[in-house]
Amino acid sequence: MITQIKKNWQLVAILIIIFSFPTFPLKAEVTEIMPHGTIEGQGTYFDITNSEYLNIFLQSSEPVKIRMESIPKMITIMIESISSAKSAEISLSGFAPLTTYYKYQDDYHNLKEFTTDENGSYAYTQDLSEPHLVFIQLRKSTKFIKDDSTGGDCTSIGIWDSITKTCTLTQDVVETIQIDANNITMDGAGFLITGSGTGNGVFVTGRRNVTIENITIKSFSNGIYLNNTDGIIVRGNNANDGSVGIRLFPASNTLLENNTTKRNSNFGVYVILNSPNLTMRGNVMSDNRENLYLRTFPFGAFGHDIDTTNTTDGKPVYYIENKNGREFNNLGEVGVFFCIFCQNMVFRDFSIDAPNETALYLWDTDDSVIENIRVADNDFGVRFEHSDRNTVSGSTFEHNLAGVLLRNGSANNIFFHNNFIDNYFSHVAINSAGANIFNLPVPDGGNYWDTFDESSEGCDDTDSDGFCDSPYVFSGGQDNYPWTKQDGWLEEKSLPAKAALLAKELISYSYLWGGKGWDYYQDLFVSPDVIKTGYNFYNPSIKTIDSGVGVDCSGLVMWAYDKSFDPLKSPINNFVKYEGANGQYLHNTTQVAESELQPGDVMFFDWNSDNHIDHVAMYVGENEGYDVVNARSRELGIRGMSKNILKELPGFVSFKQVISALPPAILATTHSPVDLIVTDPDGFTITPTTIISSDVEYLHEIPGVLYYSEMGKGEDGNPIDQVYSPILKIGDYTIKIVPILGTSPGVTYSLIFSAGDKTVNLAQDMPISQIPTNGYGVTVSETGAINSFIPVEIDVRQDSINLKSNGVTPVVIFGSATFDVKQIDPTTIKLASADIKLKNNGQLMISYENINEDGFIDFVFYVTTKELNLTLNATKADLEGRLITEEIIKGSDSVRIVPKL
């Protein structure tokens, strides 16, 4: 680490300056993050401070635009006027004193030799009538290859073929070779060009269609230097042991093929400025300080074709441009990765730890996922420029200068569950970027930052929730839920702990009576942010879809647990199934001692001592000033309170631990614009208007017996009405369907009834107009079997029954618009086990009449009173029979047995 800092301290210093003073008022304006020994900008003086060679200071009498580099044994200055001035007095300092240098302008033909003064300075007049490339080196002597009879100086070092315009070396060379004509081939034939650490090995400026091949070039500032060229082929060369192996500065339509660049002190291949359409095949870049530096994009140069046959330190180079929806998974070790104009990409499960300027470079790349990558020992781990809405998670950024760099308006990128470790300038460097997000809501939270994981760094975790209590704030962003441990998110939190975290999220927000955090239209438990901004819910008190902000007390418990358990599961299939505090108390919790309280446990209250729980609050563990989250009221909101105060209140009932409620023992569900009326075998009936009077809570239930829910949305947009019970009773359930007022008769409904693991489909797409008058019936037997029946309305037409009577008892089964009594099979009918009496002629004593004058024929029959299997205490008589279609019908009526003994 210290070594790395030492190695890069100059760069660190300049980055501090760049990020602190992007528009430093006195100096030239810095517009780009530069490699070592490089400065670029506009102004009148320029100061290189981090060169491994000479830290050159340039002062101009006129404002100029400059890019100045000081790499070993060579100074390069690109200079142009930004005013009307045609020349400027240039003063350079920082050279070795009293030393002779060779200054070239534009190419090696224009030499000016100079000797610095005792201060290492030199001044000259610079022409500014046009842009110039000036390079200053310690050594002169150049071979110029031209298109003439001898190939210029070619014949002094090789063979010139004037037909093919090829100069083929026949010996090693110790000078710079400058190509001075178009369409020339410089073939090294394996010979060596050796420099003394300064100048350029092969220099091409302003030429087209030149080929440089088969040369081994060593110990130059730049092995091969292409400047303002077009269509150059660089093939089969070795450019090693200098400062830069191959430099394109700028160069269009270049082919780099099967070249090797090794052990260069700066870059293996260096491509910047307006250098479009670079093709790279089979190049080997290794052991350079940075193997491939490719930054043409800020200059509008794209169209590169670089495939994975290129390697950096033996690892493949990935370059993707204009791709949509591709996935890059399990790539192993990657050399460097560029994604330019990409959309909806996936980068997953690979590492980039070669020493790149940028390991993963995203330019104008949006809506992509970066997951589980490791980026180490680069200048910048992942660089975002003009790149929005990408998600980075599960990744590690380690030993980089900056783990992440966000620039050029990149916005709305999300970072969570990443480890930022030992990045020695900044974990995240942000410059001219938009707003980005560095955490999700709890329980997911943010990232791990090794510079913010101890109390001395501002990270305390008093509630042991795994997050620092304070946000990690850095220049340009903040992580509101920094993890205290590396990979802390992999340590699975218990469900109660997650619920407690979520509950704490709502401290200070709104109370919403009837709000449970379940969005009616989205079919999910919403995020904390949505709780705070508003969602849609079915409000049973006004029986319509409502919208609001917040939750109520039982909603806090349901939302916190169910959101943590599975936000997409409907409440009735989720962890906390009961909407009200009373149901949660009875069926979703178990007793816990105060001494064993854990975050996520709850406190129940019965304010008016009517044995209905009115209120619930969640214990969340010790926080700064509170340990209970209490969704209290509209006026007071959701507040943090003290357990020790709440437990002393007269209405406090008990501490309880939240447990998963058992699936409903019975469940009636209808998906349609209808309500339900359900009667259980014991005669308990719940209707759409059944409300239990309770302080605070809206309880749509018969406590402990039947519960009514309308939270979910059916496919037709109407609420799913559900009646459920935790208790399975043996006997007959009846379910009546009540259409919502104003519903068209042609609208259909469906009805499903479940008991245990058995389900019966009672109605499927049935028109509202055909709702059975007496509803549907289901018999649950002791074996668990369920059978449907048709409930019928009957009337035992005797005010009282004397079981010793020798007479008969008349009974009516009423017909209706949906029940035709002619469908009854009279031979199957029994009232209290008594068959229909036979007449003397052997016929059944039955008739069909409109008894109640409702326009529908009723079925009248008689049974022998003595045959009624009723006790003296009986209060009702049950009827059972079948239709001719074999469907079972059932009904019952109250009876009074006389005389009583």
Partner: protein, 185 residues
């Protein structure tokens, strides 16, 4: 060159000092443990009401208001934590002092950020009526919720809003308290 290094060194030191100062200024207050504002001790001003019930005066010098309330009522301030609430006061008859911790106490004052008041009562805007308390015009809401009849008044209060609340059961005392409420600033 030494001069340039020195410049960079001083520049870095300057940045660190300024950044630390800015950090402390903006950040530190948010990291402080929650400390309730000082509770203003009620000043005992024995006075007789028309029905001879003794009254006390509560004066809050920090927020600048005072009101009179029955002597046999208890007052608690800042008993719970909420960042949006700058100050809260809850009160109940002493024989039912536990009511101050119930979801809706017999009397409450909650000084809140305007956005809290807005989102909590937005859906009731159609039932709001104009009212004046202590010469300050505000809105009054009467509504059924949590199986209780609520009366809530919201007044502007400098950069905040002040919520005054009760339930129908305590409306008479509530009105007496409001009649005595004075804003001192």
């Amino acid at each position: 060159m030494k001069f340039l290094y020195k410049k960079i060194f001083y520049l870095i030191i300057g940045i660190i000092v300024i950044s630390t100062g800015v950090y402390i200024y903006y950040k530190l207050p948010n990291n402080q443990p929650y400390i309730p504002p000082p509770i203003t001790t009620p000043t005992n001003t024995p006075t007789s009401t028309p029905n001879n019930t003794e009254i006390k005066t509560y004066r809050n010098t920090e927020f600048g208001f005072e009101f009179q309330y029955p002597e046999d009522w208890v007052i608690r301030t800042n008993t719970s934590y909420s960042p949006f609430s700058k100050f809260d006061l809850i009160s109940a008859p002493s024989e039912k002092s536990y009511l101050i911790y119930y979801p809706t106490p017999p009397f409450l004052i909650n000084i809140v950020t305007p956005d809290f008041a807005e989102r909590q009562f937005f859906d009731l805007k159609n039932i709001a009526s104009n009212t004046t308390v202590g010469d300050v015009a505000g809105l009054k809401y009467e509504y059924e919720e949590q199986n209780l009849s609520h009366i809530t008044i919201i007044l502007p209060f400098g950069q905040y809003k002040i919520i005054l609340g009760t339930t129908k059961e305590y409306e008479e005392v509530f009105n007496q308290i409001l009649a005595s409420l004075k804003f001192l600033q």
